[in-house]
């Protein structure tokens, strides 16, 4: 059981809305999750599931027209919703770090890597001297597997994999407690990706880094995550220990994903297909949002009532699922389910 001191970041009933041409859309709909110190939490979802919106909201970053309309963000005992933008800026970079999908656009193309790093450090630690900051930058970069001298390069002179490492270096430069990595390996080749994931695990062990890894690739999650959270259509549908979720998925969407994602092992069994496609968030299906695609849908319950995100009957707090298969409902008794 996770005690409150273990929990580094707690998202409580967060809803994020943004404007589209035809009205307001909820990109994140009443999501609650806890991230424990020193863990790697994998947040899995497809495009349009709301996972990136959630990541950016957790940093309270500007994201188009998106606004947090309700809920709280508790970071290490502090309610981030009460902080001013200035205070948030102090937090970002020093205690909360973010790694984005495409490092080319998140690094200033006319600034050398070393300048980027030292500037970040000196902003948050003004007492350091230039030499101290520079030395630390070189040290970090080497620790991440890049030769010291390359610190003088510009972003375009480095490969994608190296740039991603630089992004991590930025996060480590000031001993971030939590790093939110949004699709960090999607644009990388598979061998570079493997090396990067190894690095994440090492950093977690060595620096006790806490990582929220947002991705659509469940293979990546299986490789590095301790716990897994699954998002669908702006809601969380399942969360639990990684071994448990992969072995006995509770939510039909999770099951569908696991069975329809290709597995390179020769003895992995057959591949299955899922019906339909992810819904349009501006007019999501009523009741349980997955019901139109669900092979287990119960007509009297699922299209009408939205299931709670709660531990299934009899299970511990650590596991939660939003599915009527696992929660009681008076209608279920009526149909004998």
């Amino acid at each position: 059981m996770a005690t409150s001191s273990d929990i580094l970041y707690s998202v409580r009933n967060l809803t994020v809305e943004y404007e589209t041409r035809h009205g307001v859309v909820k990109g994140v709909d009443n999501v609650s999750l806890d991230i424990r110190r020193g863990e790697i939490l994998g947040l899995v979802g497809e495009s349009g599931s709301g996972k990136s919106t959630l990541g950016k909201a957790m940093m309270r970053l500007r994201n188009g027209s998106a606004r947090i309309t309700s809920g709280e963000l508790w970071f290490d005992g502090q309610n981030l919703m009460e902080l001013s933008e200035r205070q948030m800026r102090d937090l970002r970079g020093s205690r909360l770090g973010m790694v984005f999908q495409d490092p080319m656009t998140s690094l200033n193309p006319v600034q050398r890597i070393v300048e980027h790093l030292t500037e970040t450090m000196l902003t948050h630690e003004p007492e350091w001297t230039e030499e101290e900051a520079r030395a630390r930058a070189e040290e970090l970069v080497e620790r991440l597997g890049i030769r010291r001298e390359r610190v003088k390069d510009y972003p375009h002179q480095m490969s994608g994999g190296m740039r991603q490492r630089v992004m991590i270096a930025l996060a480590l430069a000031l001993n971030c407690d939590l790093v939110i990595a949004d699709e960090p390996t999607t644009s990388l080749d598979v061998i570079v990706e493997a090396k990067f994931l190894d690095l994440l695990k090492e950093l977690r062990d060595e620096f006790n880094l806490t990582i929220l890894l947002i991705t659509h690739n469940i293979g990546v999650v299986a490789e590095v995550a301790d716990r897994v959270a699954v998002m669908y259509a702006a809601k969380l549908v399942e969360i639990g220990d990684v071994n448990q979720v992969f072995e006995k998925p509770l939510h039909p969407y999770t099951e569908g994903l696991l069975k329809s994602v290709p597995n390179i092992e020769l003895d992995s069994g057959a591949l299955y297909k899922m019906e339909g496609s992810p819904p349009d968030l501006s007019s999501p299906p009523p009741g349980c949002r997955f019901h139109p695609r669900c092979p287990y849908m119960m007509e009297e319950v699922c299209p009408i009532y939205d299931p709670p995100f709660a531990p299934p009957e009899g299970a511990s707090e650590d596991t939660r699922v939003a599915c009527w298969l696992h929660h009681p409902h008076p209608q279920k008794v009526a149909i004998g389910a």
């Binding site: 497809e46 495009s47 349009g48 490969s159 994999g161 190296m162 080749d189 598979v190 061998i191 570079v192 990706e193 493997a194 090396k195 994931l197 190894d198 659509h216 690739n217 469940i218 293979g219 990546v220 999650v221 299986a222 490789e223 995550a225 990684v242 071994n243 992969f246 006995k248 998925p249 509770l250 039909p252 969407y253 099951e255 569908g256 994903l257 696991l258 069975k259 329809s260 994602v261 290709p262 597995n263 390179i264 092992e265 020769l266 992995s268 057959a270 591949l271 299955y272 297909k273 899922m274 019906e275 496609s277 992810p278 695609r293 092979p295 287990y296 298969l325």
Partner: protein, 362 residues
């Protein structure tokens, strides 16, 4: 959870025909010249720098086969796909389709041949003309290759195709524009357009990479069922080795413009010979938390295709490279011991050295 009710993805029937191959690629190279600056050109002394996208590739595709072409970025696989269809002309080498040398055909003959070989692109939105309706897009190849059809007959074929790719009812979709339907549906339209002239060869260039994860397997299922229904041969180009496992009969692994290993899927995946293949297969994330990687990852990164390393291209990163040999000799594809039809371009793991024979006198 109650018993699983998901449907399995159709698997290919592996019905490969004997007889001459449908496609033959011989010694094909494709170089893209770079614009060098004035000063640089003074120092180049004649040799113009070029991106060597494809640097000597040989293979054949047999009728009824699903031939996989896999590799990371910069491997040249997409370029090979276009060379096979003559959308690009090779700098060197030849491509044969059904015994015909594509470079010898007149533009008209080549155009007519296109009804027999089609391509499915990676990005369905980009490959559909935003100003044509879906019906028009699918009908267009018919207008070109079967001009004797009446409008009614064409419409009938279009609707048949839409049904065949799972867009029901077809009349709902025929008059829509590409931006009005979802991504997975668009890829089905691209497939419909590719199949409407009943081609024999389909080059699929990352056909499912841009679809949502939960939709990909349905697309794969469609492609496999259509293969049987329409008697197709596929050249399946992908960077996703896990997907390739389910559909390919044979697979070729590309690195820096060359094929480094080729053979039946079970042989290549089961006992990879080339160190790069081994690393590549091991690196792919497996959706099983208990799985552990066993191979060390090659050091460094993929070199630039403008100036590849000497000798074996993989040698600077290879864990078993032998200096004096691997940095000097550039290996061809050679027989892998005890594995039928399985070739690898590695001096140590394939060919005479690997078979335990004496090293040939230099």
């Amino acid at each position: 959870m109650p018993e699983s009710r998901l449907e399995q993805v159709a698997t290919p029937t592996h019905r490969i025909e004997a007889g001459p191959p449908l496609v033959e690629v011989r010694g094909v190279k494709k170089y893209f010249p770079l614009q060098s600056g004035f000063l640089a050109s003074l120092f180049n002394r004649g040799e113009q720098p070029a991106v060597r996208a494809v640097d000597g590739v040989d293979f054949e595709i047999r009728r009824g086969e699903v031939f996989g072409l896999a590799g990371e970025s910069g491997s040249g696989k997409s370029t090979v796909g276009r060379l096979v269809l003559n959308l690009l002309e090779p700098t060197e080498g030849k491509v044969f389709f059904d015994g015909m040398d594509l470079s010898q055909l007149s533009p008209d003959e080549m155009r007519r041949l296109r009804s027999r070989m089609q391509i499915i692109f990676q990005d369905p939105l980009a490959s559909l003309n935003p100003r044509m309706t879906i019906g028009q897009a699918i009908a267009h190849p018919l207008e070109i290759h079967e001009p004797n059809l009446s409008e009614g007959q064409r419409r009938k074929r279009v609707l048949e195709m839409l049904e065949a790719v799972g867009m029901n009812p077809p009349t709902n979709y025929a008059d829509k524009y590409p931006h009005q339907i979802s991504g997975g549906q668009r890829q089905r339209i691209v497939i419909a357009r590719a199949l409407v002239t009943r081609p024999e060869l389909i080059v699929a260039d990352e056909p499912i990479a841009m679809a949502d994860v939960s939709v990909r397997s349905a697309l794969l299922d469609l492609m496999m069922r259509l293969k049987d229904e329409f008697d197709l041969t596929y050249l399946f180009i992908t960077h996703d080795l896990a997907t390739a496992k389910y559909v390919c009969d044979r697979i070729a692994i590309m690195y820096l413009g060359r094929i480094v290993e080729v053979g039946p899927l079970k042989s290549v995946y089961g006992s990879p010979a080339h160190p790069y293949t081994q690393a590549l297969l091991d690196a792919v994330p497996v959706p099983d938390p208990k799985h552990r990687r066993t191979q060390p990852m090659p050091r460094g990164e993929i070199p630039s295709p403008i100036d590849p390393p000497s000798g074996c291209r993989f040698h600077p990163r290879c864990p078993i490279a032998q200096m004096g040999l691997c940095d000097v000799e550039d290996p061809q594809l050679m027989q892998v011991p005890e594995s039928d039809n399985h070739l690898a371009a590695c001096l140590l793991r394939a060919g005479p050295r690997a078979m335990g024979q004496q090293t040939p006198p230099s």
